[in-house]
């Protein structure tokens, strides 16, 4: 008797039971996987639960979490934002240029540029009706070139203490970056669950045409979502500059779009939109980071790490595919 048959015999409405299990797996699978991973890692290496190891993991994960939160909002509207990595590079590139005016103006300018990048991408999607993947692809190619033009191709050191503190300091034993990511998570979760904007966003992702006919401000919501994604990416860029003490537009944020999309999908947000799992996204980012860290700590070659990541992505999508993906 196959597994599916067993399930059907338990419940008279077999298809319903199967759907429910997939739904549960989609919803809570990432948390279960995270718990199992941490348990296995601790059993294999007692140093894994040390505070210093967790601090390292949090430093590594915080920027990805910020970017993935914005990506989750965009994917919730049935879009995708490929420009996040290039936005990180753009935000990073203006820090050394304007740090002479003090840290606050430099950071504000970086965030404004992130918002502007999101505004351009979002307008192309919302007003011109360009496919999200194409609109943000053109931004992705163009913005990294712009970042390198602004800052030269070589990495520039950043010595400002405020920026370095953002990337390096601990607060109550936890990296400041992780507190910032936590605050952003709370804000995004509140926005999605409790605000009109959040409900409109999810409705648009579920059915754009119906939302338009129901009189929702579809275009405004779409643009706002991409602007938020741009701002969160720029914030991640500032933190990355602080952590590395340099701005490197050619390399910073490279492949970040892939990591962010992976975190969102592994976290249970369907690519087809209409649902946003904020905490799942954070857990997804954490899981992917810890999985690769564990493999590296046990001297597994990066080739295997990449193949494992690929399999994990496929698994996550297989679970969430019942919602209809394209």
């Amino acid at each position: 008797m196959t597994a599916a048959a067993v399930i059907e015999s338990v419940d008279a409405d077999g298809a319903g039971a199967r759907d429910r299990i997939l739904d549960l797996a989609q919803r809570y699978g990432v948390y279960a996987a995270l718990v199992v991973l941490v348990a296995v890692a601790t059993a294999m290496n007692s140093d894994f639960m040390s505070a210093s190891n967790w601090r390292v993991q949090l430093f590594q994960t915080a920027p990805t979490v910020l970017v993935a939160l914005g990506m989750a909002l965009v994917i919730g509207t049935e879009g995708v934002d490929l420009s996040v990595g290039a936005t990180i590079a753009l935000a990073a590139s203006v820090i050394p240029l304007y740090i002479g005016y003090g840290p606050a103006p430099a950071i504000v300018l970086a965030l404004l540029l992130g918002a502007a990048a999101g505004l351009v991408g979002g307008s192309m999607v919302a007003f011109a009706g360009v496919q999200p993947i194409v609109a943000t692809l053109s931004l992705m190619i163009g913005l990294r070139g712009l970042a390198e033009l602004l800052n030269g191709a070589a990495a520039k050191p950043v010595e400002d203490t405020t920026i370095l503190n953002l990337g390096e300091q601990n607060l109550a034993g936890v990296p400041l970056m992780a507190w910032i990511a936590l605050a952003a998570t709370g804000a995004v979760a509140y926005t999605v669950r409790r605000t009109t904007f959040g409900r409109q966003l999810v409705a648009i992702g579920d059915n754009k045409r119906a939302s338009l006919l129901a009189g929702l401000p579809v275009r405004r919501v779409l643009v706002t979502v991409y602007v938020l994604s741009g701002i969160l990416s720029a914030l991640a860029g500032v933190l990355i500059v602080g952590h590395g003490a340099e701005a490197d537009p050619a390399n910073q944020g490279l492949n970040m779009e892939l990591s962010a999309i992976t975190a969102v999908v592994v976290g249970g947000t369907p690519l087809a939109g209409g649902r946003v799992r904020v905490l799942g996204t954070v857990a997804g980012a954490m899981f992917m980071q810890l999985a690769s860290a564990v493999l590296i700590q046990h001297n597994v070659p990066t080739s295997t790490t990449q193949i494992v990541e690929a399999v994990l992505i496929c698994l996550a999508v297989y679970v969430s595919r019942e919602r209809g993906t394209r």
Binding site: V80, V120, M124, A128, G129, V130, Q131, I133, V134, A135, L137, S138, L139, M140, I141, G142, L143, R144, G145, L146, A147, E148, L149, A153, L258, I261, T262, V265, L271, A272, P301, T302, S303, T304, T305, Q306, I307, E309, A310, V311, I313, C314, V317, Y318, R321, T325, R326
Partner: protein
């Protein structure tokens, strides 16, 4: 360049064709022409402007550089045209290109025939698995091929001992001639593009692809072999990426592990600039030829006149150019709907 044969079958474009003959105003006709011939017009205009700006520079060596250095990478765009026409996307081609190069160089150390067969077979198998997951697993092409991108890189790393082993094509091997000079690689690529054009515009398979991209449910109801066609399309794209990698390996004389990153985006850009709709249902090989030539010419012009800004300028201009093209496409599409 029209897909007339396809459109008799494709459900989505059909009303467009039917409405054209009876209801079209002169304005709409011009919009349709701009959409169909746009890439070609822009290509001719850019080349003409460059020639007029500096007649002495438009030499044969320019043409040879543009064709010879990029030719095999265009095969990625050829495969991508088929995939995108079905409404899918293939992000794995950059990794498969690099993998193909490494496999070719490794095979060449044994036999030139193995150098050709190994990348084709492995990349075809990789593409087929992706196609099976998309067609029968019901998974999003974007994610399946994203996993393919990571996995193929991983396989490449494993083959080359984390990229530290470089396989050289033996200097005496005739396999090197396949990538040498301008004419041999360009000839191979041109032949494959011609075959691709026939497949897309003159066969039932091409019509099926267009129908799937136009409206998959209708294609299924029409009794078209949708799942099989989708598996084949990813297999084709993977095979072409492997062939491109083999030609690249022949030209460079070795399997370079670090190349191919971001090539999938260049291929998508070329296809989109060529007028193929990313939503599927309309794709032309001729448009893709214009798209890759346009990107190559712009790249060459920037190298020549703005080289002090380096590759950053190329990226910035290419990104802006792509944005303008997709905006123009979207606006043309909208004005026709009104």
């Amino acid at each position: 360049m029209s897909v007339r044969t396809s459109q008799t079958v494709a459900p989505a474009p059909a009303p467009r064709e039917g409405a054209e003959s009876r209801l079209e105003t002169p304005g709409e006709r011009w919009i349709r022409r701009a959409e169909r011939r746009g890439p070609l017009v822009v290509l001719v205009a850019v080349c003409a402007a460059a020639t007029i700006a500096s007649p002495s520079d438009a030499s044969w060596s320019d043409v040879s550089t543009i064709l010879g250095n990029n030719a095999f990478v265009w095969l990625l765009a050829l495969g991508m045209t088929f995939v995108i026409t079905t409404g899918g996307i293939d992000l794995s081609v950059g990794s498969l290109y690099a993998l193909g190069g490494v496999l070719a160089a490794r095979g060449a150390t044994h036999s030139p025939w193995l150098a050709i067969a190994l990348p084709l077979v492995v990349c075809a198998a990789w593409g087929a698995v992706q196609g099976l997951l998309v067609a029968y697993g019901g998974m999003a092409p974007f994610i399946v091929t994203l996993a393919g991108l990571l996995g193929a890189r991983g396989l490449l790393q494993a083959l080359t001992d984390q990229g530290s082993t470089t396989y050289l094509v033996p200097t005496g091997s005739w396999f090197r001639h396949l990538g040498a000079g301008t004419w041999v690689p360009v000839g191979i690529v041109a032949a494959l593009f011609a075959a691709g054009w026939i497949l897309m515009e003159r066969t039932g398979y091409g019509a099926t692809l267009t129908a799937i991209g136009g409206n998959q449910d209708s294609a299924v109801l029409l009794g078209l072999p949708v799942a099989r066609a989708k598996v084949l399309v990813y297999l084709l794209s993977g095979t072409l990426a492997g062939a491109a990698g083999a030609l690249g390996g022949a030209r460079l004389g070795s399997g370079v592990t670090t190349i191919g990153v971001g090539y999938e985006l260049t291929a998508i850009a070329a296809v989109v600039i060529g007028g193929t709709l990313l939503t599927g249902g309309y794709g032309t090989i001729g448009g893709t030829v214009c798209g890759v030539l346009l990107l190559a010419v712009i790249h060459h012009l920037i190298d020549r006149y703005l080289s002090q800004y380096g590759s950053a300028m190329t990226d910035a201009v290419n990104g802006a150019f792509l944005a303008v093209v997709v905006l123009a496409q979207a606006l043309l599409e909208r004005s026709r709907r009104r």
